[in-house]
């Protein structure tokens, strides 16, 4: 489904990402783990073509989209729930969702998308007329996810969607992600905490200092005594 190879890039002159390669198969849920500043969000920006500078190849279902711009990627079936949500706070829930569907080609599918998102997050349905900025943190995250789903993506990227949320909301969103996966959506989830990643992904990449340091099944990774230790070992300079 998603095939990224040798992706590099960054904001200024210096690269943040160095030859990142990863694959996500159709229907799979993959985690992207890594400590603060590893470059996970930068990779998400590179994948969605919102990073100022990048190199490497990106394929979606075999189609080469390395040079595609953000809106082409959305049209091709990729959607990102960005770090910090980036919902349009002065707009209503309804308008946020409508904008998420702007790339939807046929008008008729709009109602179907609304129903799907409201089925997933019934709380949004109760608040369609409310300004997005006045929603609770959990509701805002639901809106961010719902908005991304409005474009009917086949690949959903999520950048730390659980950050700062209460355990109950976390499990609510985890349940939603599981349902999405059952409905055939392919998922790439950026997360820092392994225990959360374990609940909704089967395979994981660990990123350190802008490069992929490790790839493993989430289950195997959980068997390791302490992931923070692992982060540390992998990022420490190798001694001869």
């Amino acid at each position: 489904m998603l095939d990224v190879s040798y992706m590099s890039g960054g904001y200024g002159r210096a690269d943040v990402l160095e030859n990142v390669s990863l694959k996500v198969a159709q229907g799979e849920a993959v985690a992207l783990l890594g400590p603060n500043g590893a470059g996970k969000s930068t990779l998400m920006a590179a994948l969605t073509a919102t990073l100022p500078r990048r190199a490497g190849t990106l394929r979606l279902d075999g189609r080469d989209l390395s040079r595609a711009r953000s809106h082409d990627l959305v049209a091709a079936g990729m959607a990102l729930v960005p770090e910090g949500r980036l919902i349009f706070t002065p707009f209503t829930v309804r308008d946020n969702l409508r904008l998420g569907a702007i790339a939807l080609s046929r008008r008729g599918r709009l109602a179907e998308r609304h129903d799907y998102v409201f089925g997933l997050f019934p709380r949004l349905a109760e608040r369609v007329g409310q300004r997005a900025g006045t929603l609770s943190g959990g509701e805002q995250q639901m809106l961010a996810i719902g908005r991304a789903l409005m474009s009917k993506p086949r690949l959903l990227l999520l950048d730390e969607p659980f950050l700062g949320l209460a355990p109950m909301i976390v499990s609510e969103i985890v349940a939603a992600l599981r349902k999405l996966q059952r409905d055939g959506l392919t998922i790439l989830l950026v997360e820092q905490k392994l225990d959360i990643a374990l609940t909704c992904t089967t395979r994981a990449y660990v990123m350190l200092k802008g490069a992929v340091a490790l790839e493993s099944s989430t289950h195997d990774l959980a068997q390791r005594p302490d992931l923070h230790d692992l982060y540390f070992k992998l990022s420490a300079p190798r001694t001869p």
Binding site: S70, P82, P90
Partner: protein, 298 residues
């Protein structure tokens, strides 16, 4: 009393012109963050295109009717707006330039437009034929020349249409979304380049329309652009750069202050030209968000 009512008509008409220029700024500023001072020259260009379409100076047989002048202004200015965006703004944005670069490039465009107008049409003012003549008309208590009422009507209808576009259509919302957060808008699948193009095309059309509408009252003149650029910008600052209604309110406030001041304040008439600057400075210091702050600030 009739003196005052006449002033109301005349100030509303001038205010409408300022409001249109402010709207031209706003259409470009909101989605791109670019302040395009060339809108004043675009208004002047609109005035000249209108005159040229109605009085083809060399061949009177080709003189066109007013509606043709309106279409000519919209088509020419739309094309010029598109061209300016494609040649100056787009290459700079593509190279990741700072936002000040396009603003400076557009100041260059301003000079190019002014010099081209002087070369093409000369330095003398060209009279612009008013579509409904000069005969004074009165609507109830309010009296003025027909052109003033035309200006007011067109402006209010246009503002209503633009307001509906922004508030009620998904593409209007998309424009606002780009203004709020470019990255989030791109992630929705909004084509940022297309929005930028549309902003410049529509901004140029509105500016050209302002020039065409005011030219029967002032003649088309190569120096008309700069005062309009300043008055429109002041109207924008007074109204608040956030919202369409603000541009209209700002234009009207500026025109009423100008005309009431000229009529009732004991100052030489030449100094009334300074009113926009005084208001501009007052608002920048005391209320930089304008009378109608953008939604996100409330």
């Amino acid at each position: 009393m009739s003196d005052l009512l006449e002033l109301v008509v005349s100030a509303t008409a001038s205010g409408s012109i300022y409001a249109l220029v402010a709207l031209a700024y706003l259409l470009i500023l909101r989605p791109t963050s670019i302040i395009n001072f060339a809108v004043g020259e675009w208004a002047a260009t609109g005035a000249f295109v209108g005159v040229a379409a109605q009085t083809t100076l060399a061949w009177p047989a080709l003189d066109g009717p007013y509606w043709l002048a309106v279409i000519a202004v919209l088509v020419c200015l739309g094309a010029l707006g598109w061209l300016v965006e494609a040649l100056t703004v787009r290459p700079l944005i593509a190279r990741g330039a700072n936002i000040t670069s396009p603003i400076l490039a557009l100041l260059g465009v301003l000079v190019i437009f002014r010099e081209s107008l002087t070369m093409l049409f000369g330095a003398d003012p060209l009279p612009s034929p008013p579509p409904f003549g000069f005969k004074r008309v009165a609507f109830g208590l309010f009296a003025g020349v027909p052109q003033q009422f035309l200006i007011i009507t067109v402006t209010f209808v246009l503002f209503a249409a633009v307001w509906l576009f922004f508030e009620r259509t998904v593409w209007g919302r998309a424009f606002e979304a780009v203004a709020l957060n470019r990255r989030a808008a791109a992630l929705m699948g909004i084509n940022l380049r297309r929005v930028t193009t549309f902003a410049f095309v529509s901004g140029a059309m509105v500016a050209g329309l302002a020039g065409l509408l005011m030219s029967p009252l002032t003649s088309a003149h190569y120096m008309m652009g700069l005062p309009l650029a300043i008055q429109g910008f002041t109207a924008l600052v007074i109204g608040g750069v956030g919202r369409v209604e603000g541009a209209l309110l700002g234009g009207l406030v500026l025109a009423f202050v100008e005309q009431l001041g000229a009529r009732y304040l004991p100052i030489p008439s030449g100094l009334t030209l300074g009113f926009p600057f005084v208001l501009l400075i007052l608002f920048l210091f005391l209320r930089p968000s304008g009378l109608m702050p953008p939604r996100e600030a409330r």
